[in-house]
């Protein structure tokens, strides 16, 4: 009888202990005493190792104290036991983002989207972007910009469409952002590049010119401006831009060679062409 009572009593005592520890841990979390919370949750995990809730809480405490790597281990243990989409997926994804592992963040964030779209979509967009999945990022940013009505997110969506070479979609967004971003060199460059590709160099030219005026060190814009000018027959104006940009992008040595040839600088043209051949072949 005493033996049986002992068996009943031990869980009861443990439960009492767990309740007390849990209350103390929760109070520590509320007070942002995350180290203390972590210790308490570790005691709870030791006390009830089969209860995944303590692993989750431990993970949240670790996440809050900035120890994301350890947090991820605990949160993943919890999610193995409770895989239903929920806020823990969002925290796990956010932890991966903090660790600059965006590709790993995608799966939990996609799961979190099934739980709460509005709270998750921006994080998911960031994860796609960091993982260079630009088209998915563009769609996620665009959705987030619609729900938040934030122009900066729409700008990021346009940038991602441009990166993903979805020029029609990029143009649609750039058109709506022109008044807000017309001073920004990168905006002028990306919009000008899109217009040059879709509608021809003459359409992109004014934007590319403004981009270079706003930031002469934006060499990618100088490269596109040089190509547009050359396509429109202005080798003289194209040449300095192509010269500057070809320092960073060897493919531009080919249009630069053409520009030299058009200007009658045949020795420069031949030298640049050979430079292009050797550098592009080894690229």
């Amino acid at each position: 009888m005493n033996f049986a009572l002992g068996w009943l009593l031990v869980p009861w005592l443990l439960a009492q202990d767990a309740a007390v520890l849990s209350q103390r841990a929760a109070a520590a979390m509320r007070g942002q005493r995350f180290d203390e919370a972590e210790k308490l949750y570790r005691q709870l995990v030791a006390l009830e190792p089969s209860n995944p809730m303590w692993r989750m809480n431990l993970g949240l405490a670790l996440h809050s104290s900035g120890r994301f790597s350890q947090a991820i281990s605990e949160l993943e243990v919890y999610l193995q036991a409770r895989p239903q989409p929920g806020p823990v997926h969002l925290v796990l994804g956010a932890a991966y983002l903090k660790l600059r592992q965006p590709c790993q963040a995608i799966a939990p964030l996609e799961k979190a989207m099934q739980w709460n779209k509005s709270q998750t979509e921006l994080e998911l967009a960031d994860a796609y972007y960091g993982c260079k999945r630009f088209e998915a990022a563009a769609r996620a940013y665009e959705a987030a910009s619609r729900s938040s009505r934030r122009k900066d997110i729409a700008r990021q969506a346009a940038h991602c469409y441009w990166q993903a070479r979805r020029y029609e979609e990029a143009r649609r967004l750039f058109q709506t952002l022109e008044t807000e971003y017309w001073r920004q060199a990168e905006f002028q460059y990306e919009y000008g590049d899109v217009l040059a590709r879709l509608d021809g160099p003459e359409e992109g030219l004014p934007y590319l010119r403004r981009a270079v005026e706003a930031n002469p060190k934006l060499t990618a814009a100088r490269g596109e401006l040089g190509k547009a000018l050359l396509a429109l027959g202005d080798a003289a104006q194209a040449t300095p831009h192509l010269e500057a940009a070809s320092q960073q992008d060897v493919s531009l040595l080919l249009p630069l060679s053409r520009a030299y040839r058009a200007l009658g600088r045949l020795a420069d043209a031949d030298r640049t062409l050979q430079q292009y051949r050797s550098q592009v072949t080894t690229k």
Partner: protein, 510 residues
Amino acid sequence: MFGLVLGLLVAAGPWQIYPLPFRLTTGEGARKHLPATMPGGIAVFDYDQDGLLDLFFPNGAALPAGRKTSARESNRLLRNLGNMRFEDRTVLSGLEGAGYDFAALAADYDQDGWTDLLVCGLREVRLYRNLGNGRFQDVTASSGIQNQGRWCIGGAWFDYDRDGDADLFLVNYVRWDPSTEPQCKVDGVPDFCHPRYYAPEPNALFRNDGGGRFTDVSQPSGLAKYRGKGMAAVAADFDQDGYSDLFVTNDRVLNFLFRNLGEGRFEERALELGVAAPPSGNPPSSMGVDAQDFDNDGKVDLLYTALRDETFPLSRNRGADFEDAGLKTKLDLLTRSMAGWGVAFADLDNDGWKDIAVARSDVLSAKGARARSAREPLSWFRNRDGQQFVMGDAIPLAPDMYRGLVAADFDNDGCLDLVVTALESQASVIRHRCQGNWLMVDIRQPGAIVKVGSQRRSVSTSVGYASSCACPLHFGLGAAQTVDVEIQVPGSEPKRFRGVPANQVLRWSP
């Protein structure tokens, strides 16, 4: 009632689809082996000399073994019965094949009047001699054609030494070894790898010595020292010196233009002549290629397909070199969002200007992360007086993973039809009805040049991607009832015919 009839007529439109008894097998599985995204060539030729163009389709196989294991992987010969009906004659012909095959090059290499076939494969090439009785004999071993286990993806029959017979140029793609092939992902999902993960290969040239024998002249010709990632080739006399040159598209590395110097030697001049890469300087994923005179100025121009954002570069031959014509003709803008494989210059509306037909689709897997956008429709671009291209009317065939495309007249009505393949799909002939007069010139002499009015075409069988057409040369004549014709065979005086009546096939042998 008349309204109903009229409605039906309009619904039928100028294009009618005829599915063919052939389905292209790729061998694509969970592991994305590169060959699985590359098959789909077509050969169009009248193998039985009944006056109707027949079809041959090389087919894929199981991967990574690259050997055919079932009848569904068999190559396929389809005999044209007329009225767009085709019957499977593969088994009778002996053309089933054994390996993973990509391209088919038709030409009468032994000049016996029966068109033969060279089949390009993953590890071997096979030369089949047409015996004239419906059967083909594998004569590879006795021919001396040996591709050293390289992955042949296309090529061209052409007479590089002007001795009157067809020599063979083989395009080799990349070195592929399944045991070392990396596993690539696109958007986190397994997909085909970028060509940068594979080593380049040299192409090969075989001289036709007559008597069914060939000699490998890749080294002495100077071609062997150039390693590319070849996708397709066309032969044409670009510099009009009387010798056929070669243009080879390379996948993400600079294209080759091998100028024929005569005396059996070639020099690579693509960069100097302006066709190694588009004006941007970025070597694109150059795919299928065709070379024709699109602006009727008497010089052979170049067009090749590429992937999205690379446009389909069009280069106008200026005589001394080429200039980019994509911007002026608007083709750049039309094709910016497209990915293409098979391509052909073809005067689809018989107006005297060669239009462009393209088999479109992405290189990435139709089962991968980009599946939604991988399939694309067929397209054609109408040539407006050699100055500009505009989108042609829609071809009523669903978007698919199109690869091979050939334009040829399968029903002898003077309008060019199309035949296309698509990965893991049934091949189709697309019958085209058009107006305008026409002339066909049936001449089998490789390198011969035919001028019809202001138009010029040379006899060459390779076209587009992995495909060939040993077909009469087609000329649209618009409203003209008669036309002057000039035929120039290499090494002999041109023959001139004045006031040739339209709407006939002019057969000519030297």
